[in-house]
């Protein structure tokens, strides 16, 4: 009776001894993270390295934690200049609502997961600073503003699932304040 139990136990031990490790030695090896993984928010740039953000403020309003802050100035010709687009990663819960709210596909949940900082002050940083906002190319229909893919790059690959969100007829203009 005892012999059988010990043999059964040893069989499991042997089986686990002979298979390879399932853990990885983290800083030296990294697991691949899935495409949709949500980590720090990062700005996206167009082909020429210019930010795609148009300073429309939809992301700022969408954030449940109010940790996005965008300051911009509007010039004579209605073009906007982003002074500062700050982001407090220490309070971000990586919910992705800002990315889903952005009608211009200008931010993304990046795969940057090494977010430890030595100084708490570094937990708030600027995503964009002192850059010109992208012009809103498509003239918005006067009645129903619709959230669609970025006007200059309709076939975006990454944000495709987020685009499955319904186009909102009420729109982001309908703030409650």
């Amino acid at each position: 009776m005892w012999g059988k139990g010990i043999l059964t136990g040893m069989r499991i031990t042997m089986r686990n001894m002979l298979r390879g490790p399932i853990t990885v030695k983290y800083p030296y090896e990294r697991l691949e993270i899935p495409e949709r993984a949500r980590w720090a928010v990062a700005p996206k740039y167009d082909g020429e390295g210019k930010p795609k953000c148009t300073a429309c403020m939809a992301c700022v309003r969408a954030c449940p934690d109010h940790i996005l802050d965008l300051e911009f100035t509007t010039r004579e010709d209605k073009s906007k200049h982003i002074e500062r687009y700050s982001y407090e990663i220490g309070a971000c819960m990586m919910c992705g609502l800002c990315v889903e709210a952005c009608p211009f596909d200008a931010i993304e949940m990046s795969h940057d997961y090494e977010l430890a900082r030595l100084d708490p002050a570094q937990l708030t940083y600027d995503l964009l600073a002192d850059v010109d906002a992208a012009p809103v190319k498509r003239a918005r229909p006067a009645t129903a503003p619709k959230a669609e893919a970025a006007p200059d790059e309709p076939a975006s690959t990454e944000a495709a699932p987020a685009e499955a969100a319904p186009a909102d007829p009420v729109g982001k203009e309908a703030t409650d304040e």
Binding site: R36, P64, G96, A162, P166, D168, V170, D176
Partner: protein
């Protein structure tokens, strides 16, 4: 002194003169308590004469915070209620919002919700069984259970990008369509999971040490289970056949063929074993849901991003891994909830601890607490 808030910080006032007992503080962050729970235990020798759970160490005021956020912005907060089973809180909240605003959810979204919630049940029960095993010293079972849970969590990460705080179920649908090949991987997981469950059943529940530690410990009678408002595996372990999926069917659950496992003795062993059998049933539901699911939209079309339901209130509940999880919402017609109240099963089940622990050894206390499977994010909110 006694009776004042905060007076329990000092033990001397809890000792009655002439009574030969020892007052021991377990927690708030004792390694074998689940979450941040403190239990003040009165001991006569090694026998518990009284156990009082002290809660509130994880209180974040989520119900209050919800009043300052729009309906969509509350969804990530509900992730943080029950951090072992975030999908449930997401779903319970979204069902209430949908009831409040009169939103019809597309069928595919309902199927996706059922699939993720049944997977969540597996993950949550694996966590519960694994930690119950670790409490009784069965380290191997702990690793096996967490191995199974990890697979579910990896599937979730692939689906919605987060491992624990999913933010997946949204008012009016779900946030992401399933990635390519995901259903095949989930079906493969279900097949592997059954083998894993069988292994765990033999390894853990067949083990004589487990039986000695868990059988006839913390016996809850069916009458007490009903009277104290217990739900989920805690009530079903006592033989109370009550499962909202069957007895108040919601979503597409009536279309599935599944059983509700119940125990008979109401002890820790039965409660844990009910969880194991529920995982088999969850696998069955997932397989049926995947085979019945049709392509279609995953979000109600034409839904405004800022919901502003008509003034009124609504309550809806679902069967979470811990029991009946309900959310009550009051709307005053603005874009923010006027009041949110969460009926959390973990809280109701934890209230049974004084009843169950009395008369048992101190070392049984952690087993009883583990068998109630409280998650303190949900208890304290």
């Amino acid at each position: 002194m006694t009776g004042e808030i905060g007076s329990d910080a000092c033990f001397t006032d809890r000792i009655e003169p002439g009574v030969d007992e020892l007052v021991v503080n377990v927690g708030p962050s004792h390694p074998s308590t689940h979450g941040v729970c403190r239990v003040i235990v009165h001991l006569d020798g090694e026998v518990v004469t009284k156990a009082e759970p002290v809660i509130g160490y994880l209180h974040r005021g989520i119900e209050k915070m919800a009043e300052n956020r729009t309906y969509l912005q509350v969804v990530p907060l509900t992730d943080r209620l029950d951090y072992v089973g975030s999908m449930y809180a997401n779903w319970a909240y979204c069902r209430t919002v949908e009831r409040l605003a009169g939103i019809q959810v597309p069928e595919r979204a309902e199927y996706l919700r059922v699939i993720v919630c049944e997977m969540q049940r597996i993950a949550s029960h694996m966590m519960s069984l694994g930690s119950a095993a670790a409490d009784t010293g069965a380290a191997t079972m702990f690793i096996y259970a967490f191995d199974q849970r990890e697979k579910v969590i990896e599937a979730f990460e692939e689906l919605c990008g987060a491992r624990l705080t999913y933010n997946y179920v949204r008012p009016g649908g779900v946030s992401f369509e399933i990635p390519e090949g995901w259903t095949e991987r989930v079906l493969q997981f279900c097949r592997d999971h059954r083998d894993g469950l069988e292994l765990m059943d033999r390894l853990f529940f067949g083990n004589v040490i487990t039986r000695d530690r868990m059988k006839h410990v913390g016996v809850l009678s069916p009458e007490d289970a009903v009277a104290w408002g217990a739900s989920g595996p805690v009530a079903r372990g006592s033989g109370v056949n009550w499962d909202l999926r069957k007895h108040d069917p919601y979503s597409v659950y009536p279309r599935f063929d599944f059983d509700v496992p119940t125990g008979s003795n109401g002890d820790c062993y039965d409660r844990a074993r009910v969880r194991l059998f529920e995982c088999y049933e969850s696998c069955r539901i997932i397989e049926q849901a995947i085979s019945q699911m049709q392509p279609g939209p995953i979000r109600t079309p034409g839904l405004p991003r800022l919901l502003a339901p008509r003034p009124g209130d609504a309550y809806d509940h679902i069967e979470s891994a811990r029991g009946a999880l309900g959310v009550y919402l009051v709307s005053d017609g603005s874009v923010r909830p006027y009041r949110m109240k969460v009926r959390s099963p973990a809280f109701c089940n934890l209230a049974l601890l004084p009843l169950l622990a009395e008369g048992h050894m101190l070392s049984d206390l952690v087993v009883i607490l583990g068998s109630l499977d409280p998650v303190f994010g949900e208890v304290d909110r």
